[in-house]
C-alpha cells in the first residue's frame, strides 16, 4: 500500500515510511474542501463571469463583501441550524467572527449600513465562496461557489417576476442547456397552517415533518385527528401540487383562507409577467415547494437542470430581514450554485473543453529575444502563447511541445527565421512576423 496522507500512531510499518522521520504533507487538502483543477476552475470562473455579466445587464451593481462577518451580524439573519453550521473563531480582540455561509445577510448589512444613504429600490449582485462546517449541506463539500442577486426595496409581483426572469437568464448565460424554474409561495403554506384545525403541538409536528420532507410522518399525524378539511387534503398532497396555471384553479377550489387565496392570486400575476419576460415553458408552479418558511415571506422559486438531483438556483422574497438591521424594506433575491452548474456542463452531451494553448515558443542561442517578441505579438492578437524557459534544440523542443499541449510549435534560432510546426503539418521555415501574421489570420 502507498501512503496517501498524514498517518497517526505507529506508522513505521507502512511501506515507504520505515525509518522516515519527516511528516508527509497532506497533499489531498482538508476533507470537504476541494481544489479546482484547470478544467473545472476555467468553467466555474467563466460561468461566474457570465452570470455576473447578465446581472449587470439588468442594472445590478456588483459588491464584494468579506469572507468573515461578526457572528452578531449573522445571527440577526440566520436560524439556529444555519448558525450552528458556521465556521466560528475568535479574532485577536476576542470578538467571535464566522466565515460566511451565504451572502444575503451581509448584503442586508450593507444596505442598512454603508448604503443607507442610497435610495431604494437597490439592485446588488455578488459572487464568492461560502463555507459550512456541515458537509451534508453542500453534499460532502464544505466550501461552494455562489453568485447571487438581491433586489431590495421593491415589493409586488413585478419585482418578484424580475428576479425570477433574471435567474432564468443567468442559468442560460452560464451555459446550462436545459433548465426549469419552479415557482411557489410561502404564504400559501402559512394560510393552510392557519386554517387547518389542529392542536398547536400537532401543528408544530406537521412543520417538522414537512421540513424533513417526511410525508409518512405527516400522514400519520393527520390521520390521528378527527376533523378533516380541504386543508388536510392539501397538506397530504403537498409534493404533487405542481403544474401549470390549472393547478391554481384546482387549489383555489380547495382553500378557504385569505392568506392562501392572496398567494394564489400573486402566483397567477407572476406567471403572466414571466410570459411577458419571454419565459414560457420553463416555468412551473409548485404550491408544495418546501423551503425555510421562517425566512421567506412571499414568492419562492428554485431552478433545476438536467442530470443533477439538487436545485442549481434558489431564491425568493424575504421582507422581514432588512427590518432586523434597522432599515425596514421588502426584498427578494436568489443565488446560483456554480459547483452544480459545473456538474451539469460536464454531464452535457458536449462537455466544455479546456481552452487550448495556441503556441509553444521554443528557442536556442540568440533566438531567445525573437521568441519573447513573438510571444508578445501573439498575445496581442488574443492568442495563448507559452515561451520556453530554457534553450532546446529543435528535436528536443518537440517533446516539450507535447507537454505544453499547444496547437503550434515555433522554434526560434535567430532573429530572421523561425521553424513553425502546426499540429498535423510539416515544419516550415519563415520570418517570425509572417508566422505571427498567419497564426493571427487563422492560417495553417
Amino acid at each position: 500500500m502507498s501512503s496517501l496522507g498524514p498517518l497517526h500512531g505507529s506508522d513505521s510499518e507502512l511501506v515507504g515510511l520505515k525509518g522516515a522521520r519527516s511528516v508527509i504533507p497532506r497533499l489531498g487538502g482538508v476533507p470537504g474542501f476541494r481544489d479546482l483543477l484547470p478544467a473545472e476552475a476555467e468553467v466555474v470562473r467563466e460561468a461566474q463571469e457570465s452570470v455576473l455579466a447578465e446581472m449587470r445587464r439588468w442594472g445590478y451593481r456588483h459588491v464584494i463583501t468579506p469572507m468573515i462577518e461578526s457572528t452578531e451580524v449573522l445571527e440577526l439573519g440566520l436560524g439556529a441550524e444555519q448558525r450552528r453550521r458556521l465556521f466560528k473563531f475568535a479574532d485577536a480582540r476576542g470578538e467571535v467572527v464566522a466565515l460566511v455561509g451565504e451572502r444575503t445577510v451581509p448584503v442586508a448589512r450593507l444596505v442598512a449600513g454603508k448604503l443607507r444613504g442610497s435610495p431604494l429600490p437597490m439592485r446588488l449582485c455578488y459572487a464568492g465562496p461560502v463555507l459550512s462546517t456541515d458537509d451534508g449541506r453542500f453534499h460532502q463539500r464544505r466550501e461552494t461557489y455562489q453568485v447571487g442577486a438581491e433586489l431590495v426595496g421593491a415589493s409586488g409581483t413585478v419585482a418578484d417576476a424580475e428576479v425570477i426572469a433574471l435567474a432564468a437568464r443567468c442559468l442560460q448565460a452560464s451555459g446550462v442547456q436545459r433548465y426549469q424554474i419552479d415557482v411557489g409561495h410561502a404564504e400559501f403554506f402559512h394560510g393552510i397552517m392557519d386554517a387547518v384545525k389542529l392542536p398547536d403541538e400537532v401543528k408544530s409536528a406537521v412543520r417538522v415533518a414537512l421540513a424533513a420532507r417526511d410525508f409518512v410522518a405527516l400522514e400519520s399525524l393527520l390521520e390521528g385527528t378527527p376533523l378533516r378539511s380541504a386543508e388536510h387534503e392539501l397538506l397530504l398532497r403537498f409534493p404533487g401540487l405542481r403544474g401549470g396555471a390549472e393547478i391554481l384553479q384546482a387549489a383555489g377550489g380547495l382553500v378557504r383562507n385569505r392568506r392562501s387565496e392572496r398567494a394564489l392570486a400573486e402566483l397567477a400575476e407572476v406567471q403572466e409577467l414571466l410570459v411577458a419576460h419571454g419565459l414560457v415553458d420553463v416555468v412551473s408552479l409548485d404550491l408544495g415547494a418546501i423551503r425555510d418558511f421562517d425566512y421567506y415571506t412571499g414568492i419562492i422559486f428554485e431552478g433545476y437542470g438536467p442530470e443533477v438531483g439538487r436545485p442549481v438556483a434558489q431564491g425568493g422574497r424575504y421582507d422581514g430581514l432588512l427590518a432586523r438591521f434597522g432599515r425596514p424594506a421588502p426584498a427578494t433575491g436568489f443565488v446560483v450554485q456554480l459547483d452544480l452548474v459545473w456538474e451539469m456542463l460536464t454531464r452535457a452531451s458536449r462537455p466544455p473543453a479546456l481552452p487550448r494553448i495556441d503556441a509553444a515558443v521554443a528557442w536556442t542561442g540568440s533566438g531567445l529575444k525573437t521568441a519573447l517578441r513573438l510571444g508578445s505579438t501573439l498575445r496581442l492578437f488574443g492568442m495563448r502563447a507559452v515561451v520556453d524557459t530554457q534553450a532546446r534544440d529543435q528535436a528536443q523542443s518537440k517533446a516539450w511541445w507535447q507537454t505544453v499541449g499547444a496547437v503550434n510549435l515555433i522554434h526560434c534560432r535567430s532573429e530572421s527565421t523561425v521553424s513553425w510546426t502546426a499540429r498535423g503539418h510539416s515544419t516550415r521555415r519563415l520570418p517570425p512576423e509572417q508566422v505571427a501574421g498567419r497564426l493571427a489570420g487563422g492560417l495553417r
Binding site: H139, Q172, R213, D286
Partner: protein
C-alpha cells in the same frame, strides 16, 4: 412535463431524454424479496431475485432497477442517480438527506432496540450509569436518542455481530435492529427499550419529482396502491 426552452433570440433547446423512464434503487438483503413483490404487484417490473442478483442493474422500457446495499439507497436517491428508492426507516434515521419520504410500504417491519445481557442490572433509564457504553451499527441514531434523554453515552461503532460486544465486556448494551428477537435471545440478551419502529419506505429525489413529475408521480401512485393490496 415542463423541462423546456425559453423564448427569445437566445433560446435554449433540446428534448429531455428518457422522460418517461423511472429509475428505482432497491436494497439487497432482507427487504429485497418484499421490494420485488411490490414492484410486481404495482405492475412496474417482474424480476426474480436471481436475475437481479446477477446483473445489479436491469433496464426495461419503462423502468430501470438498481440493486445496491441498503445503506447506499439514500445516496443513490439524494444524488439523483435513482429517482426513487426502497429503504428501511432504520437507514433513513442514520442517513437523513434531501430526499422526500413518500410512502410507508408496510413490509420489513422491525424494531431498533436497546438490549443488555440477561444477567445485567440495567433496565429502565433510572438504572443507567452516568456514562453508558453502547455498541451499535447505528451511531447517529443511538447518540441522538440518548442525548434527547439527557444520558451521556459512549458509542462503539461496530460493523457486524454486535450481539457479541456486551458478552465479552466491551460495552454495557447494544442498540440494534430486531425483527423476531431470536438472535438477541440466542445470545442471552434482553430488550430494555425500543428506540423506534422501522418499516420499508419509498423515498424520492427532490429534482425528479419536479423535473419529471408525471412519470415519477405515476410510479409513486402505482406503488402506493400496491401497498394496500
Amino acid at each position: 412535463m415542463t423541462v423546456g426552452s425559453a423564448q427569445g433570440a437566445n433560446s435554449v433547446k433540446g428534448a429531455p431524454k428518457s422522460v418517461a423512464k423511472v429509475s428505482i434503487a432497491l436494497p439487497t438483503g432482507a427487504l429485497m424479496p418484499g421490494a420485488l413483490r411490490l414492484l410486481a404487484r404495482a405492475g412496474l417490473a417482474r424480476l426474480s431475485a436471481q436475475e437481479l442478483g446477477r446483473q445489479l442493474l436491469v433496464d426495461r422500457s419503462n423502468i430501470r432497477v438498481i440493486l445496491v446495499r441498503p445503506a447506499d439507497v439514500p445516496a443513490y436517491v439524494d444524488q439523483g442517480a435513482a429517482d426513487l428508492g426502497i429503504v428501511g426507516k432504520d437507514i433513513l434515521w442514520e442517513t437523513p438527506g434531501a430526499h422526500y419520504e413518500l410512502v410507508d410500504l408496510r413490509f420489513g417491519g422491525c424494531r431498533l432496540v436497546l438490549a443488555v445481557p440477561l444477567a445485567s442490572k440495567l433496565d429502565g433509564p433510572e438504572t443507567w450509569p452516568p456514562q453508558l457504553r453502547v455498541a451499535t451499527k447505528y451511531p447517529r441514531t443511538a447518540s441522538a436518542w440518548f442525548e434527547a434523554r439527557g444520558q451521556a453515552v459512549e458509542i462503539v461503532r461496530l460493523h457486524g455481530s454486535v450481539e457479541l460486544a456486551p458478552l465479552v465486556g466491551l460495552v454495557d448494551g447494544i442498540v440494534d435492529l430486531t425483527a423476531t428477537g431470536r438472535t438477541l435471545k440466542e445470545n442471552r440478551l434482553r430488550i430494555t427499550a425500543t428506540l423506534g419502529e422501522s418499516t420499508a419506505r419509498l423515498i424520492a429525489n427532490q429534482a425528479s419529482l419536479k423535473t419529471r413529475t408525471d412519470a415519477v408521480q405515476a410510479a409513486v401512485g402505482r406503488l402506493r396502491e400496491a401497498v394496500g393490496e
